[in-house]
Symmetry: C2
Subunit: 646 residues, 2 copies
């Protein structure tokens, strides 16, 4: 009677040997007792498994292709684009490889570093392209090792365009993509997922369409996991290609490359490079409107939507790959019209996760970097293990230092003139600083009519959750409690709550109230007297730039301030207030006063000296109200402090 | 202004080197990110540190001395006594060493094994005595290595009584306790805390009182951490001894040995062995009442209370060591009258912790062994690491097997005749088994007028917490849902709650409702249909003795069912329902039907065949209601199941 029912698991204590388990999944291999509960299957699967799972579930998906930027500023913009387009839920993005552009270097604009940023800082599953022709085995191995070290797990293996007029095959060299596929499998076994290119019209240099199909089959049989195709203009081109592939025994996923026409010139250039011919019916529409960018883009969107729809309707296509040309509008519109752009407001954890495989189990972070997640990832990139389950009372978390590279990726996105408008062309005293903080909280324009949309400690506008505390925050900032981080207490809201929810549905989330601010030593003196009354209820940690340090944290233990209870899982506690990490954060928080704010002004100028004074004399304070089921008492603590001062 | 206030911690990120920390505490040495939050400082300190902390806090304490039992039955009784007297909060217990009794062997009654039980199964800080005279260096080292392996951390180093009439010093041999102290320090460095004996009247064999003091000083300077004295009859004897010790430079703690007179003969024997003289004023009282045990014991208690009071009032004494002679009543009464017997109903964790140093960080266990904690400790004794923070989804927890040794320590404390009275001299069908379960729950006598105070799966009467569910449990047991473990849901009660609270004060504890029972395959079939309605809310796991196994646990992940939130700490989740461990528990739970119940009856007898039938055909089921803030739905699940059956 029992066998016919439900999900039956095969583990049995009597048939189990001591050594290992029969399950082949990756996560069962590491036998750590502290492995993370699988909150989010995506974090634990490799790309080809995700693809298979989505296909099995009948779930349509998309992916996005970008090329590396030319300048550092363009890189900053591209990374913001990753964040915005990442919100639509691409299965992966890929970054192209141009041998002439030093793609494997450490430059801010190299393919390698852009892909690294996408994976580690933006949390996106990423494929790095790599070409092999005209390169030595050592160079290629070096690139692959570096990619692996950076946490990249997927390679698009390409031949690349030969340089020089008279290219000839090298004996034992890398002449074709298949050589690269074999090399990757030889040297790196199954570590990478490998993608190869397919040509629905045949590669322009191939002897024939049939010969090209045979080359593709060789690439797949050499170890490629899936195929992305060159662009094409008619759905039937792709569908025929797919059937032909299947007919000769290619069974891996084949993903159509979609190119929404976005302008006359970009189309012409792409066509030239790819040696494709634009069908007459498309030329007929475009030629007359070639100077009207908007019209061409509208047409391109229409065309792409109808082609994609036809592909999806065929039942043979489960995912669509978009050649974005690093632009957002057209692709996003196509995806939205197809209904496969899926902004999921639900967060797997309260903070944005990174896609580096080392961080797969990471599920707890200090709260301090809540508004600077990229900085946190940067400063912990050298860690071999990431905390999961517990933060623990490690006395030496060894945060990385604040270096140049860090400043590039993590610096404010706004230019100097913008910042001066927001934070004041000229400061007249500490009160003008209070005003900047207050305007950031309220969203009201400052005295010169400019809104303050970011602060050195917060790259983005105020979080929705912080809005819950807006009135109280405004009041205290006006009086010199300069808040940089806070959260309300939450006593068991559903995990699907649109503001404070996170994790799978059916759970409950909790928070302890948190408040972090800079303030003067006068206020700190009064605050410490007030805190005596709250000794058992409030944990505090107060420190100045010189490292004077006052806390009532028992044995320097971390305090969990966010946690969630989910069906069938262990407790997740993704955010802690850790007194040891706080001292590393303190260095960063104080440095931001100088690096991002003081340096806007001339040396020796009064404005600069005001910020310098605050940097030298203020304290950084954090407060936690442990009694999460009661009304948040931290506002009363601050109120009592002001009262004592008067 | 800041330096003058509060607890100031010395850690500073700028002054910190990468390698280690300046803190000397043990817990900072292991750099694990998963170390346990210090819920209970006691678990993390060694004995000499606990002693110092109690002294610094002005906290009076006591300790208890026992000798090893002669028979296996006496051992079972002694272990229950450890549990009962352990409830009063001794700082430690110690177990004496009698070379003639094979004290280092693996026998159930050896000093080594009794001390092992006290540490590992009863969770008591324990000192093992060890004598050295007439023993080889190898023997002694072997004993010490074994003690270390078993988790013993404290040794009382003694000479022991020479055997044979004409004892002579051996060159390079172990002639005095000081030789043993030196040996321990040479071979085991600082691993053990070492205690030595002091003689307030001088050792009977010493040349003089002064010479004996000098010997004592040698022992301390050789590495002893503290001194326990021989018994004495007048407080001034001890106080003079203590001053004399201090005068010659002995500064370690000196703990007076207290001997409450419990009977005429035991006093005479002890005096003979210790070569002490009983003061005339005591003799005068005792001689006339020598045949009245109760009167002597009353007098002994009076005498001990007044002597102890005088010692404590002197301000020189912080702890009292009791020679219990393995008896409970007199010592317990003295301690209660002194007000230092402190039954603390607060539990550090919901389950009884073990004192083995390897288990120091352990803070999570599967719920299944809740009523059989000693069995759990036994079956996990070979583990190198104990889970803390998370149980994790280890696929191979490698529980030890069910062997003889295990059966001795963990078998029911009641004799066969008792069990037959409770569980039925003769069973007439499955219903008579239902009745036994029901009587255990209700506390009502069975049809033969006997109360059922234990079950094969529960050594003790029902937990207070289970009483909360009594009515529902009664109802379902009557109908063949044979419950062996359960807990109500709790949504944030104070950690000081007398029934469900645990951990430090100021916290909140939570539970998911849990129900575990044996039941027939007919009921399981109906239950599975009902559970479909509750799929998202209730996790279930159903298994029979052959290992047929049905569960909806996602990826065989553990489900946390008890957790606590405390001020300034990470989340503690001490109890999980782990689907993998459940299969090990299943083997034990089914085996108990046969080993403890069926075997009470003759082979082939109808009673035995009824139990055998249940063992072969019933299922073991566990259910968790994940929606802890709502009313427990598990009773409704059972109700629905019965309805479906009708």
């Amino acid at each position: 009677m029992v066998n016919e029912t439900q999900h039956t698991c095969s583990v049995s204590s009597s048939s189990r040997s001591d050594g290992g388990s029969s399950s082949g999944s990756e996560s069962s291999k590491d036998n750590s007792r502290c492995s993370t509960p699988v909150l989010d299957a995506d974090r634990h699967e490799r790309l080809r498994e995700k693809m298979r799972r989505r296909q099995d579930a009948g779930d349509k998906w998309f992916s996005l292709e970008f090329f590396p930027p030319r300048t550092a500023n363009a890189a900053v913009n591209l990374i913001s684009r990753f964040d915005r387009m990442g919100a639509g839920g691409p299965l992966f993005i890929d970054v192209t490889w141009h041998p002439a552009g030093d793609p494997g270097s450490d430059k801010e604009t190299s393919s390698m570093i852009i892909a690294n940023t996408a994976v580690n800082y933006c949390g996106l599953e990423t494929i790095l392209h790599m070409t092999c022709c005209n390169q030595t085995k050592d160079d290629i191995t070096g690139h692959l090792q570096k990619a692996k070290r950076l946490g990249l797990k997927n390679i698009m293996a390409l031949r690349g365009d030969p340089t020089g007029e008279e290219w000839e095959e090298e004996v034992d060299g890398f002449n074709y993509a298949v050589d690269l596929v074999k090399h990757i499998r030889n040297e790196f076994d199954d570590y990478f997922d490998i993608c190869v290119a397919g040509y629905p019209k045949g590669h322009p240099e191939a002897e024939s369409y049939e010969a090209d199909l045979r080359h593709l089959k060789e690439k797949v049989f050499a170890g490629a996991d899936f195929i992305i195709t060159q662009l094409f203009f008619r759905p039937e081109t792709f569908l025929k290609f797919m059937k032909d592939c299947q007919a000769i025994g290619i069974t891996c996923p084949i993903i159509p490359g979609i190119f929404p026409i976005q302008g006359y010139h970009s189309l012409r250039q792409l066509v030239k490079l790819s040696k494709l011919e634009v069908p007459q019916e498309i030329k007929d529409v475009i030629e007359p409107i070639k100077d009207n960018d908007a019209a061409i883009r509208n047409y391109g969107v229409e065309l792409a939507v109808s082609m994609c729809q036809e592909l999806l309707d065929s039942g043979m296509v489960h995912g669509l790959h978009f050649y974005t040309l690093n632009r957002e509008v057209a692709t996003t519109e196509v995806l939205k019209r197809l209904g496969i752009w899926k902004e999921d407001p639900r967060r797997p954890l309260p903070w944005a996760v990174s896609a580096h495989p080392k961080r797969r189990v990471e599920d707890v972070r200090p709260i301090f970097w809540a508004s600077r997640p990229k900085s946190y990832i940067y400063r912990t990139q050298e860690w071999d293990d990431f905390p999961n389950g517990r933060w623990g009372n490690s006395s030496s978390p060894a945060f990385g230092e604040l270096k140049d590279y860090y400043l590039f990726y993590l610096k404010s996105k706004s230019p100097r003139e913008e910042l001066l408008k927001m934070w004041g062309e000229e400061l007249t005293g500490e009160e003008s600083v209070f005003e900047v903080f207050t305007c950031y909280i309220t969203g009201e324009p400052n005295r010169n009519g400019h809104k303050v949309t970011c602060m050195p400690w917060n790259d983005d506008p105020l979080a929705t959750e912080t809005n819950l505390l807006k009135d109280q925050l405004e009041k205290v900032n006006r009086r010199g409690i300069l808040t940089i981080n806070s959260q309300p207490n939450i006593n068991g809201k559903p995990s699907t709550d649109p503001i404070v929810g996170w994790g799978p549905s059916g759970g409950y989330v909790f928070q302890k109230a948190y408040l972090e601010f800079f303030t003067s030593s006068e206020i700190v003196t009064a605050l410490l007297k007030v805190l005596k009354k709250y000794e058992l209820r409030v944990n505090y940690h107060i420190v100045n730039v010189k490292g004077q340090n006052i806390t009532n944290a028992p044995d320097l233990q971390p305090n969990a301030v966010t946690w969630g209870i989910f069906p069938g899982r262990e407790i997740i506690q993704p955010t802690v207030v850790d007194p040891v990490s706080f001292l590393y954060w303190k260095d960063e928080a104080f440095a931001l006063w100088i690096e991002q704010w003081a340096k806007l002004y001339e040396e020796e100028s009064p404005s600069r000296m005001i910020i310098q004074y605050i940097h030298d004399n203020y304290y950084l304070v954090n407060l936690v109200d442990n009694d999460f089921p009661l009304e948040n008492c931290l506002w009363q603590v601050v109120e009592d402090t002001f009262e004592l001062l008067n």
